[in-house]
């Protein structure tokens, strides 16, 4: 009798579970039923995570809901060009736009985006049971307003890390040569001095041995903002210059005279340090953006370098594109000991936490259907495969997925570093004038790179120009 009741209870439980699961599975088809015939249009940068949305998630969503999704992947510049024009002119072409972390403040200032949290509260029928904003990593905070409402569903997040070649660093002959030359053991650099010493050693080692090998990467393009970014987002912070040296709380001061840091002694020391590294980097560095830095490392032409996380992953794992698979180590960027303490204390940051989200333009003509799609790509269940196909993590649970743990081993602990040390990195400062100040000061920066003006004088000019531009924009009074 008891056994019979037990079996009955188990059957009832299974039945209930099945009905709940089926109700959950049916959410997408039920929610999508109202929007049959709708075609959603999205624009994003052509990156592996975006291509995964286009090739895998969009067709999957379409299959489940019947809502067609067309994702346009294009270059970084074109993506912004198209999205901003669409939202500014209120044409309503796009239902989803890629929002890189550094532009979210400008978009929020212009009220370009729909408040996702509020919209889902307003219409509960659109809320998927599988979507939970609390499941995102802290990176999602960049896409929230002061009230904690979400304006973009995170879809990629990386840190710019220090990569080094384990095969070179562990080679006994090279270790011996390094010891003989410097009196030190060869290990990943923790300070700027160590990094410079290793870079100088390998550049000389490559030259002496007729190898196509240099000591460091340098994202030092002389006409593209990539070089500006490398300096202000990856190098200057390790010297204690944060937020590009602009003090938002002090009337957006950039010059030391007015309370800023852009032309401070620390900034000048950082620039000289980086210019020296550029001089001992491979020749292509002067024409390298983030992409070329990745390919330079993958081609085995450098011993170490600062590389964006999205590239670090394929460099370490994709044998079709990289010659250094299995030979890539990951470490924190070298910094001053005092700065590291400062960063651990929560004052500054060590490097760039890069990434982006998918947002819903206020001008979209298909907001409800687009909200469904945004929730679809934000679910925990789609994250693990996505993280393996296009290494990025935006949901906390993804770290514990067996596939991701396996991938982490291949990447020599990159995901672990993202999880444990991610707090030491930061996104771009919360400025709504991001591109404007960058473009105003970049020509002077390129002149410094070309040696047309010295680094000290150049940074003085840049700080003054930044203040002039901020005054012109109306932020600096």
């Amino acid at each position: 009798m008891i056994r019979k009741s037990g079996i009955g209870l188990a059957a009832l439980t299974l039945g209930l579970l099945a009905s709940v699961i089926s109700a959950k599975a049916d959410f997408w088809s039920d929610a999508g039923a109202k929007y049959q015939g709708v075609v959603l249009h999205g624009v994003t940068e052509s990156t592996p995570p975006s291509n995964y949305i286009k090739d895998v998630l969009a067709p999957e969503f379409e299959k489940k809901t019947g809502i067609k999704v067309e994702i346009e992947t294009t270059s970084w510049d074109q993506m912004y060009d198209k999205a901003i024009k669409d939202m500014e002119a209120k044409t309503g072409i796009y239902d989803m736009v890629y929002i890189e972390q550094d532009i979210i403040y400008a978009y929020l200032a212009r009220n370009f985006l729909v408040n996702i949290t509020q919209s889902l509260k307003d219409d509960a029928s659109l809320k998927s049971p599988d979507f939970d904003e609390t499941h995102f990593t802290t990176f999602a905070n960049y896409f929230k307003n002061a009230d904690g409402d979400l304006f973009g569903v995170p879809m990629e997040a990386f840190i710019k890390v220090y990569l080094y070649r384990t095969d070179l660093f562990n080679d006994p002959k090279i270790q011996e040569a390094f010891k003989a030359e410097t009196g030190k053991d060869l290990k990943p650099a923790a300070t700027h001095e160590e990094y410079t010493q290793i870079a100088e050693f390998f550049t000389k080692y490559g030259k002496d041995n007729g190898l196509e090998l240099w000591g460091t990467t340098a994202q030092a393009h002389t006409g593209h903002p990539a070089s500006w970014y490398e300096f202000f987002e990856s190098v200057a912070p390790t010297f204690g210059v944060y937020n590009w040296g602009i003090d938002a709380g002090n009337n957006y001061a950039a010059t030391v005279a007015n309370g800023g840091q852009m032309n401070s002694d620390k900034a000048k020391a950082a620039l000289k340090y980086w210019l020296h590294l550029r001089d001992i980097a491979p020749p292509e560095s002067a024409a390298s953006t983030w992409t070329e830095v990745g390919t330079t490392f993958a081609a085995g032409r450098v011993a170490q370098g600062l590389v964006y996380g999205e590239n670090a992953a394929w460099i370490a794992s994709d044998a079709e594109k990289s010659r250094v698979v299995g030979n890539v180590g990951v470490a924190l960027p070298p910094t001053d000991a005092a700065v590291l303490e400062e960063v651990k204390g929560g004052t500054g940051y060590l490097g760039y936490y890069d990434g982006g989200a998918f947002g819903l333009p206020i001008t979209s003509k298909n907001k409800e259907a687009a909200l469904l799609f945004l929730q679809f790509i934000g679910q925990d269940s789609v994250q693990a495969d996505w993280a393996v196909a296009a290494p990025r993590i935006t949901n906390t649970a993804t770290y514990d997925d067996p596939k991701v743990i396996e991938m982490d081993k291949q990447l020599n602990g990159y995901y672990s570093m993202l999880k444990n040390e991610g707090k030491l990195f930061a996104g771009a400062p919360p400025f709504p004038f991001h591109a404007q100040v960058r473009e105003a000061t970049a020509p002077i920066f390129y002149s410094i790179l070309l040696g047309e003006i010295g680094p000290d004088e150049g940074l003085d000019q840049m700080a003054a120009k930044a203040e002039e531009e901020l005054t012109n924009l109306g932020y600096r009074k």
Partner: protein, 293 residues
Amino acid sequence: MRSNTVGWLMLAPTIAILAVFGIAPFIYVLYVAFHHWNPFGADPLMTYNGANNFRRLVFDREFLLSIAVTIKFAFFAVVSEIILGYLLAQLFMREFPGRGLFRTVHTLPLIVAPIVVGSVWRLMTTPSIGIIPYLLKTWFGYDLNIGRDAGAAFLLTVIMDIWHWTPLVTLTLLAALLSLPKEPFEQAQIDGANRWQIFWHITLPMIRPAILATVFIRLMDALRTVDEVWMLTSGGPGAATRYVGLHIWKIVFPKTDYGYGAAISVIVLYLTLVMCWLLYVALVAPRQKKEAE
């Protein structure tokens, strides 16, 4: 009266298209040029600021520099294309084995999109991996680095433009040469004129309208070049190849300074018109004066 109406009706679609896509945008650009408008400024609205944008232009070193390098670029590119195009057109006037094939191959760059041309040249010139730096290093020991050598980057943009657009000049001048009557040339030969005299006194004056039209087209194109150069150098190193089209793009799009960008666009249009007019006066007026005498 009737024919007049029909004529206007026939022209109406063209006039409408011109008004919608040519005149209206121009008037709008002119309107914006007299405003301060940056949607990412503290005040994102368009506010009237008189001629301030134009006043700012006069003191803008980057803008003046971009004008100077653009004129330099246009001069070297157009002159080279006209000379090379004429020589190639003369070559195609002659019979030689494989002429048809050579003519087809020579025309191929014309059908390639500028952005693709820029990408291909970038691949060919990237330091360390490009074939051009490799060959220059192997044959002449010369280190070509377009990221650091401003002169080399400028020269490469000129060469790229010549490679892309010389076929257009060749085809135009070839058509002009083929349409010339034989009699004046036979007459000159009978009179004992040498090759140079025939070229200077007969060929050149007779194909002058074709040359003029080609120069105008190429000059206007060269003054507004953007995509090829954007792909190859992004305007660098420094401002060495930041031609005015690229400069406007940077002001209007990444910097979103719409008012100032519109003012630059208006001034550049004006400069282009002035340059074309000066060229027209220089090339056509003496001839007309001579004919009148």
